[in-house]
């Protein structure tokens, strides 16, 4: 009797744990989609909030998040790629590079709220940018940096050494071999890492809390030196700070759904790049 039961218990346990994990994902998606999709409409994503943010759309928040993510990419991508190039192409195994690598891993583990503080101290106060799109974008850029370095280095590492040697052997300088041969081969991998990192950055809230995000703004488009609305913060605000929380639930659900669609879309495009690339190999 016991003998027959045990395998069921064993499988049951593992299936249960795995099932629960899947259930979490499905529950999240189901709840957001079932309750959010009714709020979703063209008007919702193409108009500004109205009536004290109890009606209307989320256009300024969408624009804010897009601009913010763009700034993040513009800051973190070149910087991160250069650093990854240094580590993978130039650095020797010295104490200095070991410190750099350790720093990167530790930066990746620093809580995002601490990046927020750093952004506040450095950009908002130190560099006198005030609470602004630029300050928040720079902060998110710093946060994304370690991930971009790690993924880019991984992509560079996969370029075979024979490619570098081929370039050098026809008289290219090391920089030329990196620029003309190594980087082009590494692009798909780098792009995957970049997009995944940006999808993470797009969903971050803590680092922008005190560096520039605003509750409400009466104009959709933003400027670098001005405050902005952002999807994740808008969701936070609608669900905790708004004067009519119950009444704006549908808006909150709609915002959450849009946010998650943006993030998943970025993720899917990363999977797609990865898949396309693996097919070619």
């Amino acid at each position: 009797m016991m003998k027959k039961l045990t395998p069921i218990i064993e499988w049951g346990t593992l299936l249960l744990t795995t099932g629960l994990v899947c259930f979490f994902l499905l529950a999240i998606l189901w709840d957001l989609i079932s309750k959010g999709s009714s709020s979703l409409s063209w008007a919702f994503i193409s108009t500004s909030p109205t009536d004290g943010m109890t009606k209307g759309g989320i256009l300024p928040a969408i624009i804010g998040t897009v601009l913010l993510t763009l700034i993040t990419a513009l800051i973190a991508a070149p910087f991160g790629i250069c650093c990854a190039i240094y580590l993978n192409e130039y650095a020797t195994d010295s104490w200095l590079t070991r410190i750099i690598r350790a720093s990167i891993r530790n930066l990746a583990g620093v809580p995002s709220i601490i990046y927020g503080l750093f952004g506040l101290a450095l950009f908002v106060q130190g560099l006198q940018m005030g609470t602004s799109l630029l300050a928040a974008g720079l902060t998110l850029g710093l946060l994304s940096l370690p991930y971009i370095i790690i993924t880019t280095e991984e992509a560079l590492r996969r370029v075979p050494n024979s490619m570098r040697e081929a370039a050098l052997a026809v008289g290219a300088t090391q920089f030329e071999s990196i620029r003309d041969v190594v980087l082009p081969s590494a692009v798909p991998g780098m792009l995957t890492g970049l997009v995944l990192t940006l999808s993470r950055a797009a969903g971050e809230t803590a680092p922008i809390l005190f560096t520039g995000v605003a509750f409400y703004i009466n104009k959709p488009a933003g400027y670098l030196n001005q405050e902005f609305m952002a999807l994740p913060y808008h969701l936070y605000m609608l669900s905790t700070q708004h004067q009519a929380i119950e009444q704006v639930r549908p808006l909150a659900y709609g915002t959450a759904l849009v946010l998650i669609i943006v993030v998943f879309f970025l993720n899917l495009s990363a999977f797609y790049i990865r898949y396309q690339h693996s097919k070619h190999e």
Binding site: I28, V110, I114
Partner: protein, 296 residues
Amino acid sequence: MKLAIREKTDQAAKLLFRMTGLMVIAILAGIFFMLLWNTIAFFLKVKPWDFITGTQWSPSGTPANYGMLPLLVSTSLVTLGAMCIAIPLGIGTASFLSDYAGRKLKSVLKPAIEMLASVPSVAIGFLGIVVLGPGIASITGQSNGLNALNGAVLLAIMSLPTIITVTQDALEGVPNAYKEASYSVGANRWQTLIQVTIPAAAPGILAAVMLGVGRAIGETMTVLMATGNASAFPKGFFHSVRTMTATIAIEMGEVPYQTTHYYALFAIAAVLFLMTLLVNIVGEYFVNKYRKYQAA
């Protein structure tokens, strides 16, 4: 001389790349010194001992109290709860993925876990408010479900993907020889998993747990939204708590710069920083140890 220019460019590029490498150190050092500087400024006004052992956090009370113990305990409580949920689930799922699931199932489950990892923390916090909180409230008969338990469940969901991925790597890294030895004395898959594979992968699993803990300690938005944020000394899972991260998030916007309260928040951040640093270093130690062991 074109060649000379090309070689100059090469040198300049090398210098630039190297600079960016150094900048990374500068950033970490910058964060560290920013925290240190402000923490020192804080300790000039409040005794470190009072800060660490004080049981009251009321910066705008009269007199102001800067005791971070309740925050520390809250963070620990929520993290502990999260790990109690996430560790068994994570190890179970990772075991299923590495030893039980077929290739097809795996190719569905892996992206699903990556998807779960990418759900933004506000979205999770939001569901904590609208779904889990009311759920907990109605089950336990409380007025609202914004408490430590809610936060713990949500943090568990957030740290699960990390724990699953790293644990799975560890389990799959266990040499086949161990498993075969176990099977050859008549053990079945389950016995092998529990008694041989998991113990052999222990360092890797520990690393996974550490990374999960790091994630949970540092998470802000979810706990800010879901735990009710009462700064009183936490009494249990069914009470509202206020973690270190939530405290910073709530109060940083509303303090005048360069005041004691402002410095106090940096001091909390410094403690948070050290905690995550420690957890990451421990995690990394085990990851490395496990790598060595894998190579052997």
